[in-house]
């Protein structure tokens, strides 16, 4: 009996349950997909995830999402309960036991819950493959396609079992606490108007200014610390460190309060001036009568109705709107950040040579001179090479070594390197030497003081001679070049002495060889592990492959992107669901109002327009600021990007346009569904009350 009644109720209140169903199904789908991606063993054991703290970040994101979803489902459940308090009150009045009423609600709710959960899981499989596709196709080679796993799937089910249980418990407690009188006489829906509409309107304007100011301040702080020549001063750095959390917290608080205050704006727009007049009383004497007229703006084209509807809706849902705006702003920021960091780090990984292997000679053992050649041959077997260079870096001999602590490289090797990096070659005539030196570095003087110095201080005059490996060479000049020097390892970035090829004989390398360096550009990825078997032979080996780094970035950023998208999509979903549920329940109350309008001669078409205007204002307001926040986010992204890369990656601008557009698109779809339902509730029945038997 109870079950039947519950089922019938579900059918009757289908429209509010539709929203609930869509929300639960979508949220389940996203959580299922994200759990399967983020908790998969494949990903968890990836080097990149193990190396960084991503595992922790993933856990935090997943936990936060579960908590927020739990809270929302609880409030949605309580809300559905409140919608029907009168009905439940009547059951109680008719002598039904409280437990039975709770049972009805529980059965009803679980039925819808199970159906939504099932739909969500089915949809989730699709979303999972979409996520997978996104990761594999867009993100690149870093990740193999993942497969569905039982553990994450079960975890999703378990999470939802908990969420449903808590939501039911919560509503059972609420239902038990309610008195019959409360249930039967549905209480008026809160205060009708804010007490100080003008103050709230002014506050809203102030808060808007504050939000803009907050962004400006943060952007300024960021600009100060991320200057063109590196991290700014210590004060700037401190200011940045403080302003980042402070600005974020203040921004979110201001956004929340802004929406809470927005309710005053409509009442303030509505309210005209009061006018008091003296009125003669029939009993003699006079009395002051105050007339409250609407403002001129409100008297135009049915605006009174619109303003009242809006202020009512905003007033009832002020807190919810604030919360939604905060969630949405977080969504936009998270997705902006997740995508931006990927493009910035990937572009930052770009370098002239894909692979660099350095074999440093360890003096105490014999070394295998041919080992690097064998490694080069092996590399060729992995991939076609577009550039290859194997060269020697030697130590200078005394006394030049005492004067200039720089490595020695053959002219042909250095020019090949410069050509490979797309730089201008240098000319070193026979009998001369040339110096290429790197960026400034810190030098510790013997007395312990520190000094910023170039690798070469310019103390040798052109034409002066020095002796190297028994040859007298004239100084031909020096030039600064930081890009290429990091590949001539040995002496680090400080600089190299470039000499004609004939100077570095086999006998010289026999004694003075410090390092052999292999530089490669390959057509296909060759990972550093390919050189593992060439890491012996009396050398200490340094291997760096850009492909390792790209993989690392790809794994990292795909995890970040999936986490951000999960959070963002779920926040979106939840926000839209809340808005729709509220809009729907408002629509129920609006039904009578629109019917009266119709009786007063407002055509159905005009009613639809009025409903649309009301719904659009109500639903677009909380997304307006979050979507607009993409503009300052683009500026922030540009500053960070030009700091790390030296230029603004076009993707940063692309993202900050695409992210809000995509969200707006999703949002508009949802809005269309809500409008359709609200229209059905508010406006259709009027037509239905006039059966068109004759027409």
């Amino acid at each position: 009996m109870l079950f039947k009644l519950a089922l019938r109720n579900v059918k009757r209140t289908a429209s509010s349950y539709i929203i609930y169903f869509i929300t639960v199904a979508l949220t389940v789908a996203f959580m299922f997909a994200a759990n399967n991606v983020l908790l998969s063993d494949d990903l968890r054991t990836t080097d990149a995830v193990v190396r960084s703290d991503l595992g922790l970040i993933i856990n935090i994101v997943l936990a936060v999402v579960v908590i927020i979803v739990g809270i929302i489902i609880c409030s949605a459940t309580a809300y559905l309960l409140r919608l029907r308090r009168r009905e439940f009150g009547t059951y109680l009045l008719l002598g039904m036991k409280r437990g039975d009423v709770i049972k009805i609600f529980a059965v009803e709710h679980l039925t819808v819950g199970m159906v939504s959960l099932t739909a969500g899981l089915i949809l989730g499989v699709g979303v999972f493959y979409a996520f997978n596709g996104l990761i594999c196709a867009v993100i690149g080679s870093g990740i193999r396609p993942l497969s569905l796993m039982p553990v994450p799937s079960l975890q999703t089910l378990l999470e939802w079992a908990c969420i449903f249980a808590v939501a039911l418990l919560y509503s059972a407690v609420k239902l038990r606490a309610l008195k019959i009188s409360d249930l039967v006489t549905a209480r008026p829906s809160g205060k009708r108007t804010p007490h100080w509409p003008a103050v709230e309107a002014a506050l809203a304007a102030l808060l808007l200014a504050f939000i803009v100011g907050d962004f400006v301040y943060f952007i300024d702080a960021l600009g100060q610390v991320m200057t063109a020549d590196g991290w700014g001063t210590d004060e700037a750095y401190m200011r940045f460190l403080i302003s980042f959390p402070a600005c974020t917290a203040l921004l979110l608080a201001a956004v929340f309060l802004f929406y809470v205050c927005m309710r005053g704006v409509f009442v303030w727009r509505l309210r005209g001036k009061k006018e008091s007049t003296f009125v003669k009383q029939p009993s003699g004497g006079e009395r002051i009568v105050t007339c409250v007229r609407p403002s001129r703006a409100a008297l135009k084209g049915g605006n009174v109705f619109y303003y009242r509807q809006m202020s009512g809706a905003m007033n009832r849902n002020a807190v919810m709107m604030g919360a939604i705006a905060v969630l949405l702003i977080l969504s936009v920021m998270l997705s902006d950040y997740a995508f931006a960091q990927r493009y910035i780090t990937l572009a930052g990984a770009e370098r002239p040579f894909d692979i660099e292997v350095g074999w440093s000679v360890q003096r105490q053992t014999e070394y295998d001179y041919d080992l690097p050649d064998r490694a080069l041959k092996a590399a060729r077997s992995y991939s076609d090479t577009e550039f290859e260079l194997l060269f020697d870096v030697c130590l200078a001999d005394e006394p030049l070594r005492g004067e200039l602590d720089l490595a020695v490289v053959r002219e042909s090797d250095m020019n090949a390197m410069l050509a490979g990096a797309g730089e201008e070659e240098i000319e070193v005539a026979d009998g001369t030497f040339y110096i290429l030196y790197g960026y400034k570095g810190t030098v510790v003087n013997p007395d312990g003081t520190r000094e910023e110095q170039y690798g070469y201080d310019g103390h040798i005059a052109e034409g002066e001679t020095r002796v190297l490996y028994g040859n007298e060479l004239a100084f031909a000049g020096a030039e600064q070049d930081g890009t290429v020097l990091r590949y001539a390892r040995g002496s680090g970035d400080s600089g190299v002495i470039v000499v004609p090829d004939y100077i570095v004989t086999d006998a010289v390398t026999e004694t003075y060889l410090d390092e052999r360096v292999l530089l490669l550009n390959t057509a296909d990825p060759v990972y550093s592990s390919a050189f593992d078997e060439y890491a012996d032979g009396g050398y200490s080996v340094y291997v760096s492959s850009v492909y390792d780094e790209i993989d690392y970035i790809n794994v990292n950023s795909s995890v970040l992107i999936v986490s951000a998208l999960l959070a963002a999509l779920i926040f979106m979903c939840i926000s839209m669901a809340l808005l729709s549920i509220k809009a729907m329940s408002d629509a129920d109350a609006d039904k009578k109002r629109y019917m009266i309008l119709n009786m007063l001669g407002v055509s159905v078409k005009r009613q639809r327009l009025m409903l649309l205007r009301q719904l659009l204002s109500f639903s677009l307001l909380p997304v307006a600021l979050p979507l607009l926040s993409s503009v300052p986010m683009a500026i922030i992204g540009s500053i960070i990007c030009s700091f790390y890369l030296g230029y603004v990656h076009s993707a940063i601008i692309g993202i900050s346009i695409a992210v809000p557009l995509v969200y707006l698109g999703i949002y508009l779809c949802y809005l269309a569904a809500t409008y359709f339902l609200a229209e059905k509730t508010c406006i259709r029945p009027l037509e239905r009350t006039r059966p068109r038997l004759l027409i």
Binding site: K300, K592, I596, M599, L600, G601
Partner: protein
């Protein structure tokens, strides 16, 4: 010239075994500038009749012509215009919009028609004073009494000076003084503006303001009294007699 012409109007609610025949072939002519009252027992179809004329409900059969145009064949848009331009309707259950203040409710028909704000204010102040609800302007419908609500509903119906005013038991919730005020006001609208008035009432005193009283029983018109040259008291006595024989007085709640 007949402003209103009903021919064989039938209204059946529901379908099959559940059907209620609320109106069973009502034919009626109302001339321009007439003041007509409809009386009848509860459930006799008075509200149904007014709703049909106001195009809030659609007929099952028959025609209703207003100004020579058949409203049963009008499109939805034309009907809305008709309701907005031609008629003023006072509902039995007031139908004030709960989220609007009394003032806003009263001016609503004018603001929907994009009348100039100055004119709206002038007309609203005038009519609200006439109905004695000026001091309620800032209150909401659920903060005022039933009688005040009724007066607000009347003010809303009359503010746009419609050609055809329909009122469903407009004095139902009013004391005798306010009842008289309202009827005087309707009479004034009738006399000075030539508005045609159609009211429903159970109260013979109220009915005696009319120039013609129609009696409904089980969805049919069964009697009519015309004031003509009759004295007020004679007219009143005739109304009480007929309504007693119709059972209206006894059944009225």
């Amino acid at each position: 010239m007949n402003i209103l012409k009903l021919e064989n109007v039938v209204k059946i609610y529901g379908r099959g075994g559940n059907a209620t025949k609320a109106l069973d072939g009502v034919s009626l002519d109302v001339a321009e500038g007439e003041f007509v009252t409809i009386m009848g027992a509860s459930g006799s179809g008075k509200t149904t009749l007014l709703n049909l004329i106001a195009s809030i409900d659609s007929v099952t059969g028959g025609t209703i012509c207003v100004d020579g145009r058949d409203i049963t064949r009008m499109s939805e848009k034309e009907l809305a215009d008709y309701r907005g331009q031609k008629i003023g309707f006072v509902f039995q259950d007031y139908n004030l919009i709960d989220t609007l203040t009394v003032y806003e409710n009263v001016v609503l028909p004018l603001t929907l028609k994009n009348v100039k704000p100055e004119e709206i204010v002038a007309r609203a102040d005038d009519i609200m004073k006439k109905f004695g609800i000026g001091e309620l302007s800032g209150k909401f419908p659920d903060e005022i009494s039933g009688g005040e609500r009724q007066r607000a509903a009347c003010a809303r119906a009359l503010i746009s000076s419609p050609a055809l005013i329909m009122a469903d038991e407009p004095t139902g919730a009013l004391d005798s003084r306010n009842s008289r005020n309202l009827m005087e006001l309707l009479r004034m609208m009738n006399k000075s503006f030539g508005a045609t008035i159609l009211t429903v009432t159970h109260d013979p005193v109220v009915a005696s303001y009319a120039s013609r009283v129609l009696f409904l029983r089980d969805g049919r018109l069964f009697n009519e009294i015309i004031k003509g040259e009759k004295t007020d008291s004679g007219f009143f006595r005739e109304i009480t007699d007929v309504s007693a024989s119709a059972g209206g007085q006894d059944d009225a709640v």
